[in-house]
């Protein structure tokens, strides 16, 4: 049994080496495994990419909001990328309160001017998503509490935002996010592009 028939013995194997000493078989081996590896990696790309937002989701990624009907001190909720968007017209009193706070004393130092567009300092556009864990803060709809700083109050874990929607108290790490937006006219903003 030990004697095997017909197994090639080393002296009959053709060592097909080219001048630079690369064996043909090694070359084919490396080439085949590399092609399979690169091919495999190329296939992973669409399998990963399919989980990113699809075309219909991206088509909804800008929102137009008409702000003409918002009165002083009133806020409205709109929807931007399936999330609440707060648009609020601040009263002179609220603007003053926001500007009176020493910026250096804030957890996330920003002035009201930095959080609004030039010429429209009374229009505060923020995401209605608490920066702590994503609940919707109260204060945008009629009759909801605005918290002790007159802005927004998140009922989930008690974060309190001021009239510039800056975090003043509670666990939220940063101010309410300002999305990219621009005024396309005096009364219309488009959120999602800048």
């Amino acid at each position: 049994m030990a004697e095997t028939t017909g197994t090639a013995t080393p002296d009959t194997v053709v060592q097909d080496a080219s001048d630079d000493g690369v064996r043909r078989r090694d070359f084919i081996n490396v080439a085949a495994v590399s092609a399979a590896g690169i091919g495999g990696l190329a296939v992973i790309y669409p399998f990963v990419s399919q989980m990113a937002p699809s075309a219909d989701v991206l088509a909804e990624s800008t929102t137009e909001v008409d702000i003409s009907a918002i009165e002083q001190g009133q806020a409205i909720k709109a929807v931007f990328r399936k999330q609440p968007l707060f648009v609020r017209r601040l009263t002179p009193q609220e603007i003053k309160e926001a500007n009176d706070v020493p910026v250096a004393s804030l957890r996330d130092p920003q002035t009201l001017a930095e959080r609004t567009k030039e010429g429209h300092e009374d229009i505060l556009v923020t995401m209605g998503v608490c920066t702590h864990l994503g609940c919707v803060p109260l204060g945008a709809a009629d009759g909801e509490t605005r918290g002790e700083f007159g802005g927004y109050f998140c009922p989930c874990h008690g974060s309190v935002f001021d009239t510039a929607a800056r975090i003043r108290k509670g666990p939220a790490p940063t101010n309410l996010e300002i999305p990219d937006y621009e005024f396309t006219s005096d009364t219309v903003i488009v959120v999602g592009q800048s």
Partner: protein
């Protein structure tokens, strides 16, 4: 579970030794598809299709799980969610075409695998269990493919679901209540679509389970080979790795070229345009046929047009199921002790006649239900059953097989030093 000369897994690395003691998974792989699994040295390319079928199953499961992330199994939105996959989801068109053509290629590979078994007698002792499990896998694949085809909820999906569940309506007494129970209604609707989706997701994993049993059963006697004679000694075999990993790798490359040709250049060639029309319960498409891989069985179903003791409808259904269930009995219908058609001159001829008959049934299954196709279907169906029930048993008892080589080694090299009386006497002593 393997031949005595199989190389043993001996990890050198201390970490691998540690793993081997706790969970010998690398050892299992080594003994299954590694150097520890000796395989007959003379396997030809027909023996690639097992690995290819496994590849297709994995491909279908991966693309299918991804498609399920974007598809909604609700009759109101199923069709539009399929279009959503095609138009909106990143690379969704690619994933769906891979899955749809993957099903076709899966069946192509399965048919080649099964016909290989017919030709080389792979179903014979001691490999009957491998064969039986294989038939189970094929039936599960058919059920899975059918239910998957319903999901896009196009016209062919809907009418396919109606016709196939209608088969169960042919069963006497319980037929109609059974069909209503299967559909969860009087016609395919949301209830049917939802359960088909659930089962279409489940069954591939059942198939994977039976595939493991199929491979487990295979690894006890080892693969058959084109000579049909059993492995006698080490020189009859080669280690699976690197010899058959390389050969299967080459086969996989050829397979992928063909597959990509369809996926990228003619993704709808194997489908029906009518399935891009949303399901309409009030209008049947002019030509209602299944996917190509069911054509032969569909031809058998339609071949029965007259009542004979039982209603024609029931005959068609019985014949269609029987045409596959017959395969379960093949190991006992074919009593010839010689496995391979290479040494069975008479059986080999009838094998090719069967292939021609199946080719005809493939053609007829896709044709309109009108003459001369109906009569041809009847003749081809009759021959199909004649082959398995009459020709195979008779041939296996009257045929004089050609002389077999002493060993695989002799078949390959033309001589085997052990194949002399002196050598065998010496081996006994």
């Amino acid at each position: 579970m393997s031949f005595p000369w199989a190389s043993q897994y001996e990890p050198q690395n201390p970490l691998m030794k540690w793993v081997d003691e706790k969970l010998p998974l690398p050892r299992l792989v080594y003994n299954a598809v590694g150097a520890g699994y000796p395989v007959p040295r003379n396997l030809n390319y027909m023996y690639n299709f097992g690995v290819l079928a496994g590849f297709c199953l994995v491909l279908q499961i991966i693309t299918g799980v991804i498609l399920a992330m974007h598809y909604a199994p609700n009759a109101l939105v199923a069709f539009s969610s399929t279009e959503h996959i095609m138009r909106d989801v990143n690379w969704g068109w690619l994933l769906r075409y891979m899955h749809a053509n993957g099903a076709s290629f899966f069946f192509l590979v399965l048919y080649m695998h099964i016909f290989r078994g017919f030709y080389y007698g792979s179903y014979k002792a001691p490999r009957e269990m491998i064969w039986l499990l294989g038939v189970v896998i094929f039936l599960l694949c058919m059920a899975t493919a059918f239910m998957g085809y319903v999901l896009p909820w196009g016209q062919m999906s809907f009418w396919g679901a109606k016709v196939i569940t209608g088969l169960f309506g042919a069963i006497p007494l319980v037929g109609e209540p059974l069909q209503i129970w299967l559909l969860g209604g009087y016609a395919p609707d949301n209830a049917a679509l939802n359960r088909f989706f659930s089962l279409h997701f489940l069954l591939p994993f059942v198939i994977a389970g039976v595939v493991i049993l199929h491979i487990w059963a295979l690894h006890i006697p080892g693969s058959t080979n084109p000579t049909g004679i059993e492995v006698k000694k080490e020189s009859d075999t080669l280690p699976f790795h690197p010899y058959y990993t390389a050969k299967d790798g080459f086969g996989l490359g050829v397979f992928l070229i063909l597959y990509c040709l369809f996926v990228f250049f003619m993704p709808n060639a194997l489908g029906h345009p009518d399935n891009y029309i949303e399901a309409n319960p009030l209008s049947t498409p002019a030509l209602i046929v299944p996917e190509w891989y069911f054509y032969p069985f569909y031809a058998i179903l339609r071949a029965f047009t007259f009542d004979f003791i039982l209603p024609a409808k029931l005959w068609g259904v019985l014949a269609m199921f029987a045409s596959i269930l017959l395969w379960f009995f093949l190991p006992w219908l074919d009593k010839s002790p010689v496995r391979s058609s290479r040494y069975r001159p008479l059986y080999r001829k009838f094998f090719w006649v069967l292939m021609a008959d199946l080719a005809l049934l493939f053609y007829l299954g896709g044709a309109h239900a009108e003459e001369p196709y109906i009569m041809l279907s009847q003749l081809a169906t009759a021959y199909y059953f004649l082959h398995f029930l009459v020709i195979v048993p008779i041939v296996s008892s009257i045929e004089r097989p050609a002389p077999l080589p002493y060993s695989i080694t002799e078949a390959v090299l033309g001589k085997d030093d052990d194949a002399t009386l002196d050598a065998q006497a010496a081996a006994k002593a």
